[in-house]
């Protein structure tokens, strides 16, 4: 048995558990203040007790500060993009179950099959069913989220953000969204079909400049993929602190599903680059034996450890 990850718009039970899990993480004080992690004051707040949810935001933002070469960081714009987010979500999923008192098979993160919404006319995409579950567009000049469960009245305020100079700081405000403002369409099924047809996990130079790379196409640098979803949602999804918006995890769970689908399609669909690198190497944290950047464990799984996670979760739908 393993947890089943389901389409959020087809499973009301999992949708509700996801909402409950997010709010539980947000409501649970982790026991550290922002200032203790070197995060400075912002215009809206000076310091704050961080929740478990906030720690995932910080983890993601810090990963982007671990630069290697070629524009890569410890989690993005390179081969490790998919394994790192698989690890990141697995820990979040476990902590959600911990706080909700659920067993390992009782709940899997749901996914947002955004390419099915991408097949709709652009005017309809901002009205996609997922937005009735996690809230819709923002309001006012700043795009403050005022609908759905992740609003200040439910105890959900953004505590950590990045400023215009890419520094982390404390804040106290609603989630922000600008649905369909910076691009008016989601990736569609044709975009995904093109990505899935690529037979090589990654290609030199193993960066945002890679071409013919499944990873780079799915990430969205050489095709329309995950990146465009961030841009479509806008607001908090635009910055390195994008996990502030719970829709981040619905997006990445779908990305992970597509990777799992690609892996299952052929035994030849394996991770590259292989080998081991060390701090200072251009591809550090991106080779198969390298450690994934983790701030919640001392033991860090090798990139290759994320190649097979069938014992921990499975998707309700893999179209191979």
């Amino acid at each position: 048995m393993a947890a089943i990850r389901r389409n959020i718009v087809e499973s009301p039970t999992d949708a509700q558990r996801f909402v409950d899990g997010v709010l539980a993480l947000k409501a649970t004080n982790a026991g550290v203040r922002a200032s203790q992690l070197g995060i400075g004051a912002g215009p809206r707040a000076n310091d704050v007790d961080l929740s478990w949810w906030d720690l995932f935001v910080v983890w993601h933002a810090w990963s982007m500060r671990q630069m290697t070469g070629g524009g890569r960081n410890a989690a993005h714009s390179g081969p490790v993009f998919l394994p790192w987010h698989r690890w990141f979500m697995l820990i979040l999923e476990i902590q959600m179950r911990n706080l909700m008192g659920l067993g390992p098979d009782d709940f899997g993160l749901p996914y947002w099959d955004w390419s099915s919404d991408g097949d709709l006319a652009p005017a309809l995409q901002t009205q996609a069913p997922v937005f009735t579950i996690v809230g819709g567009d923002g309001f006012g000049n700043d795009g403050d989220l005022a609908t759905g469960p992740f609003v200040p009245n439910n105890g959900f305020v953004v505590n950590i953000e990045e400023d215009q100079n890419n520094n982390l700081r404390v804040t106290n405000r609603p989630i922000r969204r600008d649905l369909g403002v910076f691009t008016d369409r989601l990736p569609d099924s044709g975009d995904i079909a093109s990505t899935m047809a690529l037979g090589v996990y990654d290609t030199a130079p193993f960066s945002a400049d890679s071409r013919g790379s499944f990873r780079n196409s799915l990430e969205g640098w050489s095709g329309d993929g995950h990146n465009q979803v961030h841009v479509f949602v806008g607001g908090d999804m635009l910055a390195g602190t994008s996990p502030n918006d719970p829709i981040f995890f619905l997006n990445h769970c779908n990305v992970d599903r597509l990777w799992a689908q690609w892996q299952a399609a052929s035994p030849a669909n394996i991770y590259v680059p292989t080998g081991t690198s060390v701090a200072g190497d251009e591809l550090f944290r991106h080779r198969s034996n390298d450690p994934l950047y983790s701030i919640l464990t001392q033991v860090q799984p090798a990139v290759s450890a994320m190649g097979d996670v069938d014992r921990f979760y499975a998707y309700d739908s893999l179209i191979v």
Partner: protein, 237 residues
């Protein structure tokens, strides 16, 4: 278990050199590298002090698992520049081992996902790791945000280098995040990792629109922009 200090690429501290110590754009070519005081320390030019570096712990006796696609990837041929021996990069049962310097924790890599999952307690131990990592993360924040990019290519036996430096000011104030150029000529800014545009002006407009607490909006952005207004490589993290 054997603790080994990994070699760390030296950081250039030559003030006359225009390289980027974070390696994200321009590599050092000057050869001036008075960087390391000990195996645990590197020079941090932004803080003007030596900083502890993270080390890794190896247990060469622990082999990688030999089954599954992950194992086949892990035990495949090492590509250029691979260091160490494939299959020697694990630390099963090594919980609690800390770096010799006592500041940052040893970073233990395991080929077994179970080892890492068993190490996550969802409580005090995890929080202790976060505190340890903060020092490392904040040290990285201090890396130089030089907005110089070097694009290189070979053509008909000739080496091409295109060096581009940006200085971006909004309301007269210079931005300090890294702004660079991709190989295809599009422009990106680290603070809005989701965008690469063909025009630096468009990128600056996106920065203004993305930080309403820094650049107050007099109205909500009134596009929609068409998807074709931004580069197909638009991305996010």
């Amino acid at each position: 278990m054997v603790d080994q200090i990994e070699p760390v690429a030296p950081l250039c501290v030559n003030p006359a050199c225009e390289c980027d110590p974070c390696h994200c754009s321009r590599p050092c070519t000057c050869g001036v590298v008075p960087v390391r005081r000990s195996a645990h320390e590197v020079w941090d030019p932004d803080r003007n002090e030596y900083r502890y570096i993270e080390i890794q712990t190896f247990t060469p006796e622990v082999p990688l698992p030999a089954t599954g696609s992950a194992a086949s990837a892990a035990t495949g041929p090492t590509e250029h520049g691979g260091h160490g021996e494939p299959g020697s990069h694990g630390a099963h049962g090594a919980h609690g081992s800390h770096g010799a310097h006592g500041m940052a924790p040893a970073e233990i890599a395991s080929p077994r996902l179970d080892d890492a999952l068993a190490d996550f307690d969802g409580g005090a131990a995890a929080l202790a790791q976060v505190r340890h990592r903060a020092d490392q993360a904040n040290a990285m924040v201090g890396h130089a945000h030089d907005s110089t990019s070097v694009r290189a290519a070979e053509h008909n036996g000739h080496t091409i280098e295109i060096i581009t430096t940006y200085e971006l000011r909004i309301n007269g104030e210079a931005l300090t995040g890294h702004l660079g150029v991709n190989a295809d000529g599009t422009v990106h800014y680290h603070g809005v990792p989701n965008y690469a545009t063909e025009s630096a002006i468009d990128l600056a407009k996106q920065i203004v629109d993305s930080f309403p607490d820094d650049y107050a909006r007099t109205r909500r952005p009134s596009r929609p922009r068409r998807a074709s207004d931004v580069d197909p490589s638009q991305g996010a993290h």
